[in-house]
């Protein structure tokens, strides 16, 4: 979708317009990855706002978490392992398409999607078994809001991965030279992962101390 508003997007990729001089060459590179990165910097500051608020509220409160709203540790740790390893798995998919291996791409993206689904299911299970809810106290406010918001991002990441899988059915849609969508889904997935690591540290690990 770069550059031209009239020509269909396909034809504008790496298109060089013949013209009288070198200076008139028009090269359109795909900038979507740059756009996504810029957007994610911004998005991470939204989590930054939540993190900062959390730390302020935590600093003011005598017991954190208050009696009766302790967090569970075992399941979330397993969940963390699943999510963090899925970041490596998705990278295998990206590596595959860089070798023009669409099957490899599909295989690893399916595994990633499954791992993401396991993470979300674990999250929901945790919510159901915790014994306290969003409104119980200020800690649980933060807990549900932050994990919920992150969960929403995981869900979006999952949709992106499924989108890539859907498109990859058409042979030739992704190839060694054309796989921006694959990369974008991967970058987004890493982002979701990094946010989770911070979140896990703040909400779980720090509450032990």
């Amino acid at each position: 979708m770069q550059g031209s508003t009239i020509d269909p997007p396909e034809t504008t990729l790496d298109e060089v317009v013949p013209s009288s001089t070198e200076l008139h060459e028009e090269i359109h590179t795909d900038l979507r990855v740059w756009g996504l990165l810029t957007f994610l910097i911004s998005e991470s500051l939204m989590f930054g706002g939540f993190f900062a608020s959390y730390l302020v509220l935590r600093g003011e409160s005598a017991a954190w978490p208050p009696e009766g709203t302790e967090v569970e540790l075992l399941l979330p740790t397993l969940n963390t392992i699943v999510l963090v390893s899925s970041s490596f798995v998705i990278h295998l998919g990206d590596t595959a398409i860089k070798k023009d291996d669409v099957h490899g791409l599909r295989r690893w993206y399916i595994v990633t999607a499954l791992m993401g689904a396991v993470f979300l299911a674990g999250q929901v299970y945790e919510y159901l078994t915790l014994g306290y809810g969003l409104t119980t106290n200020i800690f649980s406010n933060c807990f549900y809001l932050m994990t919920g918001f992150h969960g929403l991002h995981v869900f979006i990441g999952l949709l992106l991965i499924l989108g890539v899988l859907w498109r990859s059915r058409r042979s030739g849609h992704y190839s060694i030279s054309k796989h921006v969508g694959v990369e974008m889904a991967e970058i987004y997935w890493h982002f979701v992962d990094i946010i989770w690591i911070v979140l896990f540290t703040l909400l779980y690990i720090l509450t032990i101390f």
Binding site: M1, Q2, G3, S4, T5, I6, D7, V17, P18, S19, S20, T21, L23, H24, E26, T29, L31, R32, W34, G35, T38, F39, I41, S42, E43, S44, L45, M46, F47, G48, G49, F50, A52, S53, V56, L57, E60, S61, L134, T135, N137, I138, N141, C142, L145, F149
Partner: protein
């Protein structure tokens, strides 16, 4: 310097990039169109409609304040008008017109690109705005949000919950729009610049929009976080901002001002960019201190992120913080001063053409100095403690927002109208417009400083009778301002239909947007221009300065 009408025939020497130019039809402007010029116009026109709505609210507010009692609007409705007036003016008029309107229209033209980096995203960003405005208007069915544009809890938690929720959704929509728009600007400027345009030849408007976009990207999401928490507090029983349940009200103020102080720069940096374009063209002189002005935009962008607590000196802020933020606030005024001096030095000894655009630019200079000096007094904690939340603050921000931002938008409209429409505006109407706006602004907002120093609080529908006369003066001023919009609107509509033909470059300006036709063809140029000189080389040796627009003549 002669006006060059027909240079197109020498520029088009070879096969064009795209299909034959076709012009958009009127109805294309009401659709999901992805041409950056259409989107720019959509932003400008939509924002202007909201300006009129917000203006009507302002008139209602001022009419209410002609008498000490609350007679026209009951206090709740007054608060709803006051809140939505501020919200609309900031989020649906100044931000979308200055950044969305001028930014979208001009950035690709100025950097020599055929469109923005992500045209579809650009259209999405625009189309988030009208629903946001609709939500605000809809909120009046539920009493209208009443807690000011700042929406501080606890007030925002206890007044008109449904309306406040709609308000939050509206702000989240415009915030998203602004983030998406900023992604587009950053990538377009950094990546789509035509190769022959060197960085030190980038028009200052582009530097300004770059700084603005970075600021928006870094600060808007923090506001979004604060508003999400507020939304949950209002609707889902959480207590982030409820001290009685372990929450913290001041936390909201930090989240809010971490965005909203930078937001004042979102509203003024693009205007500074417009100033840096308009003044050299109409003074026929190179801009004084190109680098200083470019770097000062970037400095403002960085330092502006660390001054927000100057809005919170009276919020139980500890002394060390007051000290720190007083100092940082005084520091951030320096780059602003650098720009002002740059423009004054550009005017100095220039062959000034008092066009409508230039009148508004010079008017802006004078107004902004008043507002900026007010700002410095307010930034000093010991003084601010006395005048915080009084009309002195209202005076300050209207000098910078009306005398600054709105004057700048007017100036930009007069300057680029010939490019956008292909027709000239009427100078007589422009002068009437300027005179009314200039007088109206001073009349409305200068006396407010006095009111504030005497202790009249802001955001009240009723006040002590001793303030009556001065308030009536302000109301007269408000009517003058309301009247000033009439010649402007007539001028715009009439000129668009019947104005004299403008030609490609009626001002003999040197930036790239003037090298294409007026209005520009759909993908801006048949052949992308080659830059042969700086953007502000006015009055230079003709060999070095392309006063005849020879930059579009392909090198043979």
């Amino acid at each position: 310097m002669t006006q060059v009408e027909d240079f197109r025939d020498v520029t088009v020497t070879d096969g064009s990039h795209n299909s034959p130019p076709k012009a958009w039809k009127w109805y294309d402007y009401f659709t999901f169109n992805i041409d950056h010029k259409v989107i720019g116009i959509q932003y400008l026109v939509t924002a202007f409609v909201f300006y009129l709505i917000g203006g009507l609210m302002a008139v209602a507010i001022r009419v209410e304040l002609t008498t000490p009692d609350s007679d026209l609007l009951d206090p709740n409705l007054y608060n709803a008008f006051m809140t939505n007036h501020g919200t609309i003016m900031i989020f649906l008029w100044i931000v979308p017109s200055a950044i969305g309107g001028f930014g979208n229209y001009l950035i690709p033209l100025m950097v020599g690109a055929r469109d923005m980096a992500f045209p579809r995203l650009n259209a999405i960003a625009f189309w988030l705005n009208p629903p946001a405005g609709a939500l605000l208007l809809l909120s009046f069915l539920f009493g209208g949000s009443q807690s000011g544009w700042t929406a501080y809890p606890p007030l925002s938690l206890v007044t008109a919950n449904t309306a406040q929720t709609l308000w939050i959704l509206a702000i989240v929509l415009v915030g998203t729009s602004s983030i998406l728009g900023s992604v587009n600007f950053v990538i377009t400027i950094l990546k789509l610049k035509v190769p022959s345009l060197r960085w030190e030849q980038l028009p200052l408007f582009c530097w300004a929009i770059l700084a603005t976009s970075v600021l928006a990207l870094l600060s808007t999401p923090v506001l979004a976080a604060g508003l999400v928490l507020l939304l949950f507090d209002i609707n889902f029983g959480t207590s982030f901002f409820k001290p009685e349940a372990g929450g913290n009200v001041v936390l909201y103020q930090h989240l809010f001002w971490f965005y909203s102080h930078p937001a004042v720069y979102l509203m003024i940096l693009p205007i500074f960019g417009i100033m840096s374009e308009v003044i050299p063209v109409h003074a026929r002189k190179p801009i004084f201190g190109y680098k200083a002005i470019a770097y000062s935009s970037l400095t403002i962008c960085v330092v502006g992120l660390f001054v927000w607590v100057h809005h919170m000196f009276t919020s139980g802020t500890p002394p060390w913080m007051r000290m720190f933020f007083t100092i940082s606030t005084l520091i951030v005024a320096v780059p602003t001063g650098v720009k002002i001096f740059g423009w004054v030095a550009t005017l100095w000894g220039g062959k000034i053409r008092f066009t409508s655009a230039m009148l508004f630019a010079i008017g802006l200079l004078s107004m902004f100095v008043v507002g900026g000096l007010d700002g410095i007094t307010l930034g000093t904690a010991p003084f601010d403690l006395h005048v915080h939340d009084t009309y002195y603050v209202v005076g300050h921000f209207h000098y910078v927002l009306f005398g600054g931002s709105v004057f700048g938008i007017y100036s930009g409209i007069y300057h680029w109208f010939p490019k956008i429409t292909g027709r000239m505006t009427n100078e007589t109407l422009g002068r009437i417009h300027f005179a009314l706006t200039f007088v109206g602004t001073h009349l409305t907002f200068l006396p407010m400083h006095h009111l504030g120093l005497q202790g009249m609080p802001r955001r009240v529908a009723m006040y002590d009778p001793q303030f009556t006369t001065i308030n009536q003066l302000c109301t007269v001023g408000a009517f003058v301002l309301a009247a000033s919009v009439i010649p402007f609107t007539i001028n715009m509509i009439w000129s668009w239909l019947n104005g004299a033909k403008a030609g490609d470059n009626p001002w003999n300006a040197l930036t790239l947007e003037w090298t294409t036709s007026s209005p520009p063809l759909i993908e801006n140029w048949e052949v992308l221009p080659v830059v042969t000189h700086g953007p502000y080389d006015y009055g230079m040796n003709p060999q070095n300065a392309g006063v005849n627009n020879d930059q579009t003549i392909p090198v043979t």
